[in-house]
Subunit: 192 residues, 2 copies
């Protein structure tokens, strides 16, 4: 198999598109973040990479809290809009007609229309170069009742948006089930 060198780059695999929220000067604002990650299991933590100058970044530093809202495929317009305009120039809550609510933390704004909402407290902010890596401890998880099956989150109802840069900056849906984890690999184990 022939390999091609592409140089150092991050732009090559799919990540969920998230709406990260913060109160900036006491007003809720949201931005799109594709550069996120799961950072820890117990206690549950999440990371988001945000350029230093971003408007939402200011709010996160003001309150040391933020929210992560998972939009569904039917919110693709609103999601993209939050990525192409700055909260310094537009009221995105109005523009998107988001219904904002607050949970356990009283200054991490949550979007009711998003099937999943995480409330996070900032644990670490690492300056890594172009971006700050902000690591937050998840304090509470909200899920829309309509996205549960037998009381558990159901990804086929949540319908998350997956963002790729390669080749053409697109939002994708979640695809079909390929296999059961912690199971399909047993076939190779049997060969040992």
């Amino acid at each position: 198999m022939s390999k091609v060198l592409m140089g150092p780059q991050t732009l090559i695999y799919p990540m969920p598109a998230l709406l990260v929220g913060a109160n900036v000067d006491d007003k809720p604002n949201f931005m799109v973040v594709a550069w996120s990650g799961i950072a820890n299991g117990e206690p549950p933590m999440i990371s988001v990479a945000i350029r230093h100058h971003r408007y939402t970044h200011r709010g996160i530093r003001q309150n040391l809290t933020f929210s992560v809202n998972v939009p569904s495929t039917d919110m693709v317009r609103e999601t993209d809009y939050c990525g192409i305009i700055s909260g310094a120039k537009a009221n995105k809550v109005e523009g998107c007609q988001f219904k904002v609510f607050y949970g356990k933390l009283d200054n991490a704004p949550l979007i009711e229309q998003c099937p999943i909402n995480l409330e996070c407290k900032v644990m670490h902010i690492l300056d890594l170069g172009s971006h700050s890596l902000i690591i937050g401890r998840i304090e509470e998880t909200h899920i829309s009742e309509s996205c549960l099956t037998d009381g558990k989150p159901d990804v086929s109802k949540i319908k998350p948006l997956i963002y790729t840069t390669a080749p053409a900056h697109q939002y994708h849906a979640f695809g079909e089930v390929i296999a059961q984890a912690f199971s399909i690999g047993e076939e190779l184990k049997a060969r040992e």
Copy 2:
């Protein structure tokens, strides 16, 4: 829209399934990581969350390098196998018949069969609780020539595996294109 509280948890949105590699006592080993993230743009960095006791973790600490290999859907058996067995107990390279090669860094093992391979140098290791968050600077990116379209990575050829815990620990394919990013949101902008 009615919301349900789920408590603090990380298990609710899709992440790419990755094979993270390290030389442990000079021998290549690979583990599945779903808890990864993109950490920085310039220079490009990636994060992986790994439990402290894991065998691969030992190798990463020994060399302060690691690799990130993106498996395609046709490698689901091998991927899952690397997640259900420890390198302390089995030679996973043999079990999976991985063809291992090395690139710019001479001790970060890469899997030829994986369409994308990243070579990473450790920049930070944060102990966050159950997991270490390991942040690596991407030193080189390899891509299989067969996964390029017009010289650019093509996700429809890479066919990454997406892992979800909700509801049932499954590997999914990548779904259809929903919309063009930095474009569909213009419709809302026009409404302002």
